[in-house]
Amino acid sequence: MAKQKSVADLSFEEASSELEALVASLESEQKSLEDSMTLFERGQALIKHCSDLLEKAELKVKQLTGDGLSDFKDE
């Protein structure tokens, strides 16, 4: 894994695709126990991050105004 951004900074898409790759590499590649445990711990952090993002997600709505974007309040 070349990039090792902090889990908290990852978007859902980044976290879930890293997670997929991580699981695939754990399943297929021969790794040392230590490397595997490091991967596993990162995998658990990624899963928690993904679940949190899904649980806490709130639709963000912005409106194009002139040149920029502003928050849009519906209802």
């Binding site: 879930s16 899904l54 709505v61 409106q63 209802e75």
Partner: protein
């Protein structure tokens, strides 16, 4: 002034006769048997018989209308109070009610004719340019991060779409490009919204939508400028204009046509937050499985190494060597004991033989050993003595000396 026949006793007509006469007179007028009449629908009713009844009215008059069941089923639009329609049929009289009415066999929205002709002309033109080709359709992203919405900021369509997105995929960011969706300026504003979204904010997919309405209300979505802008969009476009049965040319140009704004929001989120939660749970299971099987493999390999280690351990070598030493010791001990026993036997046998060879045993039997006193040499031949020699005679229990007085051969 005409005279009113006040005292006439025999009427010239019965009600039935007069009504029939009027009916026949109206039916005989061919111009009344094939009429198009325009008005607003009111008092619409649909009793269980399946026939339809309504009144067409304008600002100053009203006309009773009937659609027989057989014609009702083939009407191209559904009627309701307040609709402005053009109705086609024949004028006649309902004799029981004494009312003339229009027996309707066709109904269409007001103005449909001209607009419909324009719709067909534009559709043919766009088709000939290939704007509606299936090969032009871009795939809709499965999991958009950002969704652009072009609609009226105050319409129910926007509320429906936001509610649907909030329910299905609250992870997304919505960029609303507000635009009027009907009226004179709508087409230009819709085009500008499409271009702005394509240029700056670059959502993954664009929804262009409005709620239901008459063909005139939806007309902006049949505007050539709008159709071309939808076809030219680099970002995939989902259209959700009007109700299920409404088709606009924007629908044909879009990459995907949804029957309603809500359906457009659903089609833009084919993967929902529930699907994502499920897949995260699946990945969690895979992760746990993989680490568990890895640990099991490690366990097995540790046991394997342990076994091999123990095979080659110095302790084992020592045990083996010790055993060999013990074994050697045992063998040495055995062979020594054997040798000793053999020696002992030999010694015993030598002893027996010694005893047998001892001269004492012979002396016991009465023999004597004779030796010369002067030099202690044993006398075993007459030649070793001469007369006068002193000899020593040894017998079993002692010895004595004798002198040689005579000698003779054998």
């Amino acid at each position: 002034m005409s005279q009113i026949p006040l005292f006439e006793t025999t009427p010239h007509w019965t009600v039935s006769e007069l009504t029939r006469h009027v009916r026949l007179a109206l039916e005989a007028d061919s111009s009344l048997q094939d009429v198009w009449v325009q008005g607003e629908v009111s008092n619409f009713s649909r009793p269980s018989s399946g026939h339809l009844y309504f009144t067409l009215k304008d600002s100053s008059s009203s006309l009773r209308c009937v659609v027989w069941k057989k014609d009702a089923s083939s009407l191209r639009m559904s009627l309701q109070d307040g609709l402005a329609v053009e109705a086609h049929g024949a004028i006649s009289v309902y004799e029981a009610g004494g009312q003339y009415q229009l027996y309707v066999n066709l109904v269409k929205p007001v103005g449909e004719g001209a607009l419909f002709q324009e719709f067909l002309r534009l559709k043919a033109l766009m088709e000939s340019e290939g704007l509606f080709d299936p090969s032009r359709k871009r795939p809709i992203p499965e999991l958009p991060r950002r969704i652009g919405i072009i609609t009226s900021p105050t319409g129910a369509a926007l509320r429906d779409m936001l509610n649907t997105l909030r329910r299905r995929l609250p992870l997304v960011e919505v960029i609303l490009a507000p635009s009027p969706v009907q009226g004179e300026e709508a087409p230009a504003r819709l085009v500008a919204a499409l271009q702005t979204l394509n240029g700056k904010t670059k959502p993954d997919v664009i929804l262009i939508a409005r709620g239901g309405g008459s063909i005139e209300d939806l007309w902006a979505f049949n505007d050539e400028r709008v159709i071309r802008a939808v076809a030219a969009s680099k970002i995939p476009v989902i259209s959700g204009v009007g109700h299920e049965t409404d088709f606009t040319l924007t629908d044909f140009a879009a990459d995907l046509r949804a029957p309603t704004p809500t359906a457009a929001a659903e089609l833009a989120t084919s993967i929902s937050v529930d699907d994502l939660k499920y897949s995260v749970r699946q990945m969690q299971i895979s992760l746990l499985d993989s680490i568990q099987s890895l640990l099991e493999r490690q366990q097995v390999s540790i046991e394997n190494v342990d076994f091999r280690l123990r095979q080659f351990s110095p302790a084992r070598r020592l045990q083996t060597d010790q055993q060999r030493v013990d074994e050697m010791g045992h063998r040495i001990e055995t062979s020594m004991r054997h040798k000793l026993e053999l020696s002992l036997l030999r010694v015993q046998s030598l002893d027996q033989r010694l005893i047998a060879l001892s001269p004492l045993g012979v002396l016991k039997r009465g023999y004597a050993v004779v030796s010369r006193s002067r030099d202690k040499r044993v006398v075993d031949s007459v030649k070793k003595v001469k007369r006068g020699d002193e000899l020593n005679v040894r017998v079993v229990d002692g010895s004595f000396n004798v002198d040689v007085t005579n000698k003779s051969d054998g």
